[in-house]
Structures are given as C-alpha cells and as structure tokens.
C-alpha cells in the first residue's frame, strides 16, 4: 500500500521533471528541420530556473486573484497529470480521478488562466481569454466524445481499466480507435496551443491566444504558468501514447517493469514529439475563425468513432 503510493508520488514527480525535456526535444527537432541548430535540449530547464529566481513585477491594477492563479493552474494541471499512468499501470492515485475528472481538472486550470488574463484589464488579456474559451468550448465535446468511445469499449471511464482492457484484448484493428486517435490528436493540438491553432513561439501579435493571457506575468508566476503548459503537453502526449499503444507499460511495481516502462514511454514520447515538430514545420497557423472547422473535424471523427463502435464492433 505505502509502496504503491510511493510509486505514484515518484511518477507524479517524473511528470514535473520530464515536461521541460519534451518541449526541449520538440524545439530541437523543429530547429533541425528548419536547418537551424536550435537551443540545447535542456534549455527549458535553464529558462525555468532563471525565471524562478527573478524578481516579480505585478501591475498596479491586478487583484489578489492575479497572484493566486499561477499556483492553482500549476497544481490543477499537475494533479490531472498525476492520475494518468505514465510508467506503471495500476496506481492508487488513478482511482482518485477518472477521465472525466481529468477533463474537469484541466477545465479548472483553464478557468483560472482565463480569469488571470482578464484581471489586469488590458485588451490583450481579454482577447486571449475570449479566444481560449471559444477553443476549449469546441474542443471539449470532441475530447469527451473520443474518450467515451474508449470508455464504451472498456465499459469503464477509469484510465487504468481502459488501458488494461486494451492490453488484454491484444492488437485489434478497431475503426473506433483509429477515429478516436485522430480526434484526440486534433484536440491535443488545440488544447496545448500548438500550430495550427495557436503559435507557441509568438509573444506580441494580435493572433496570440495562450501567450496573450500570460502577457503581464513575470518571475516565478510566469515560470509556474509555463511549467503548467509544458506539463499539459506531456499529459496529452502520455494520454495518446499510453491509451492507444499501451504496450510496455509496467504492470507490476517491480524495478524491472518500471524501468522498461520508463524507457518505452520515453521512446513513444520521442516519436510523438518528432511528429509534432514535423507537423508544426509543415503546417501554417490558421485564422481564428478557421479553428471551429478544425475542431468540428475532431468532433466528426469522434462521432464516427462512436458510431463505428456501435455499428461495426459490437454486433447485434
């Protein structure tokens, strides 16, 4: 009992530790694809460290909520991530939150992020908050629909059950999983503010969404916000990798199983990061009002996943 909670704690710490690495990897690959050398792989760690020791500057117009929000955003995102099996499957912490609670925790983080954007009372913050809420409103049904397809296959909304059901079935050509995979990838791009929905490298443009809400933050507040968004990217990466390709995840708490689990998940994430960097290099950012069409496609894929599960896979 104690041991399994220790493993859970270890895994939660692993999320915090690995998140900057993933972003560093994506940036590095992207730079190489664009014929640049790019920053070192570990640069995001150095950035975070620098931000953490810097002085904080807070606008005159900010309310107490402005200083509270980074903690809530970071903690809610981290807790959501901690419930997703990373290296080992059957962790006690996964019982706290099923997949719907996970979406809810991310929603909590987003709520405070948007409020923090509006707190200072500049036009940028309001604009970012408004757009973020639009994107999330359209992404959430697609996300839940895709998740429901998986949940209806496994007859459970617990991520552990979904993954172990998939492991027990072995490799199957499920049309529903294919569609749900597509839907989740599109949702992940939108939710993590990646190209083509939002550009993570922009800092002062009228098109920015996520960065517009963080514009007034500095010092450790900014570090927490950035870290939270890195954890979110890692979370979606692990979700996609471990739900659709659960093979290799540790099924007991032996050291060997955990070691293999860690190596395998790192490999999966490296591949996903490669794919993300390639997509971001080849695609262009969309206009804001093209985003609904993009997310409608995600919803359509998720719907088709559900229908093909009901029609093709269950039988009468």
């Amino acid at each position: 009992m104690i041991y399994s909670w220790l493993i859970a704690l270890f895994q939660a710490l692993l999320y915090v530790a690995l998140a900057p690495l993933l972003i560093g990897w994506v940036r590095k690959v992207r730079a190489r694809l664009q014929n640049r050398r790019g920053a070192p792989l570990l640069q995001p760690y150095a950035d975070l460290r620098k931000l953490l020791i810097k002085e904080i500057r807070v606008p005159h117009t900010a309310s107490p909520l402005f200083r509270l929000a980074p903690y809530i955003v970071f903690v809610a995102t981290w807790l959501a991530a901690a419930t997703v099996p990373l290296v080992a499957l059957d962790l006690p912490i996964a019982q706290i939150a099923d997949i719907i609670v996970l979406v809810g925790l991310l929603g909590l983080a987003r709520f405070f992020l948007a409020l923090a954007g509006m707190d200072v009372g500049t036009a940028f913050g309001g604009m970012g908050a408004s757009r973020e809420m639009l994107i999330s409103a359209l992404a959430e049904p697609a996300m839940l629909m895709a998740v429901f397809t998986l949940a209806m296959t496994a007859h459970s909304t617990s991520l552990v059950s979904v993954m172990s059901h998939h492991l027990a079935d072995g490799f199957l050509l499920r049309p529903s999983y294919l569609f749900a995979f597509g839907a989740l990838v599109l949702v992940a791009l939108a939710e993590c503010s990646r190209i083509p929905v939002d550009n993570p490298t922009t800092h002062l443009e009228l098109t920015m969404v996520h960065e517009a809400m963080l514009l007034e933050y500095s010092g450790r507040h900014l570090a927490l916000m950035e870290w939270a968004s890195q954890i979110k990217l890692l979370l979606y990466g692990v979700l996609i990798a471990n739900v659709f390709f659960p093979w290799g995840i540790g099924q007991d708490f032996g050291l060997l199983a955990l070691g293999i689990g860690l190596v395998v998940v790192l490999l999966k994430l490296a591949v996903l990061g490669l794919a993300l960097a390639t997509a971001e290099t080849t695609l262009a950012k969309m206009r804001l009002f093209r985003v609904p069409a993009f997310l409608n496609l995600a919803l359509l894929l998720a719907l088709l996943g559900l229908l093909s599960h009901v029609i093709l896979e269950v039988g009468a």
Partner: protein, 232 residues
C-alpha cells in the same frame, strides 16, 4: 459476434468500410472541388480494397476481378476524367461552401444512425461477418443523396451520385459476396457512360447559362416566375 472474435482480415474489412464512410463525410463537406475529387478517388480505392479482402477471406474468386475493375474504374479512370473535366471547365480553383456545414454534417450523422436502425433487424439474422457493413453502405448511399441535395455545383452533384454507386457496390460485396459478374460489368459500363454523358451535358449547360450552379436551372420551371430571383 464481437470484434475480438474475428480474424485480422475481417477486422481489416470493417476498418476499410469505416474509412469509406469517413470519406463520404469528407466529400460532403469538402469545399474545394479538386480535393473532393481526390477524396472520391480514395473512396473508390477503399471499396476496391474491401472487395479484395473479402475475396482473400472467402471463396468467391470472381471478386478478384471486380476488385481490379473497381480500382481501375473508380479509383483511376473516373477521377481522371473528372479532373480533366474540371480543368477544361476551368474550375480548378473553384470552392463552394455549404450554408451550415455543421448542420449538414449532423444530418449526415443522423442518416448513419437511421440506416443502422433500418438494417438492425436484418443484421439480427446471422448472415456473415460482413453484415455490419450493410448499415455503413446504406449510409454511404444516403449521404451521397444528401450531398446531391445540398451541393449547388453540378460537378459536386456528380460526385455525390458516384459515391452513391460506391455505397451500393459496398452493400453488394458485403451482403452477398458480390453480384454476378455480368451484372457487375453492366453496372460498370453504365457508370462509365453516365460519366461521359455528364461531361457532355456540363459543356452544354455552361454554354447556355454560363454557370454550373444548378440553382440557376430554376428558370426551367413552368410555374410563374418568382419575383425575388437573383440577377443572372
């Protein structure tokens, strides 16, 4: 029979059928004509692949031939003809947006559920592993018709018509392991002739009303002319 008990080949058929259904949705909502033609070509390839896999999994040998025929006709020849047509009508950069894309897509989703509801009693009698596909193919047919209703552009309507034919073929392959060869050849020939005729008609229509927007054909009505008509 649930998916877990099927051999891999049969799972593959289901996957291909589901993708064909997805392409029907793409056809329905795709604004760019050329991209829609490509989607149609891919649908033809998928239908042909379904036929091939059914042939591999079963004993009906003539299905190899129909798979090849489908691939040649619907995957290559007709898309090529449409492509040429579009180029000669200089519609290559033509885009057409649906009025309420989300609503049309939702209608198509409802059509899928409706066709499942229609087919359900039939599926209850244990036919073969492909029986589940009957619902999908009926949905492809209905979505093709829906596309003809909602699209204004004549070439897009032809795409809808052709994808209806894809759906029928899918139903034939999945429900009864293919039609007799003679019928199949006849249908293939019909489709080809229809395609040629469509091409000829398009040029005629374009010459007489200078557009391929079928809403402009309203003037052919014998009723009293409506006052609020758009200027031509």
């Amino acid at each position: 029979m649930s998916l877990t008990q099927l051999p891999v080949l049969q799972q593959f058929v289901l996957l291909l059928a589901a993708l064909a259904l997805f392409l029907s949705f793409v056809l329905l909502a795709q604004a760019r004509l050329v991209a829609a033609i490509h989607a149609f070509a891919w649908q033809g390839v998928l239908v042909s692949a379904v036929t091939l896999v059914v042939a591999l999994a079963g004993t009906a040998h003539h299905l190899y031939f129909s798979a090849a025929l489908t691939l040649a006709l619907k995957g290559l020849l007709i898309p090529w003809m449409l492509h040429r047509l579009v180029r000669r009508l200089s519609l290559s950069r033509h885009t057409e947006t649906l009025r309420w894309p989300a609503l049309v897509i939702m209608a198509a989703v409802l059509l899928v559920i409706f066709s499942y509801w229609l087919v359900e009693p039939m599926v209850a009698q244990d036919l073969a592993f492909t029986r589940n596909i009957v619902a999908v193919s009926l949905a492809v047919v209905l979505i093709g018709l829906l596309m003809m209703v909602f699209r204004q552009q004549a070439v897009a309507q032809v795409l809808g018509f052709m994808s209806m034919e894809n759906g029928l073929f899918l139903a034939a392959v999945s429900a009864t392991a293919g039609m007799p060869l003679v019928v199949e050849l006849g249908v293939a020939f019909d489709v080809l002739v229809a395609m040629v005729l469509f091409g000829v008609f398009f040029f005629q229509i374009r010459e007489s009303i200078d557009s391929l927007d079928v809403d402009r054909l309203n003037r052919l009505t014998e009723a009293v002319e409506i006052t609020g008509e758009r200027p031509g």
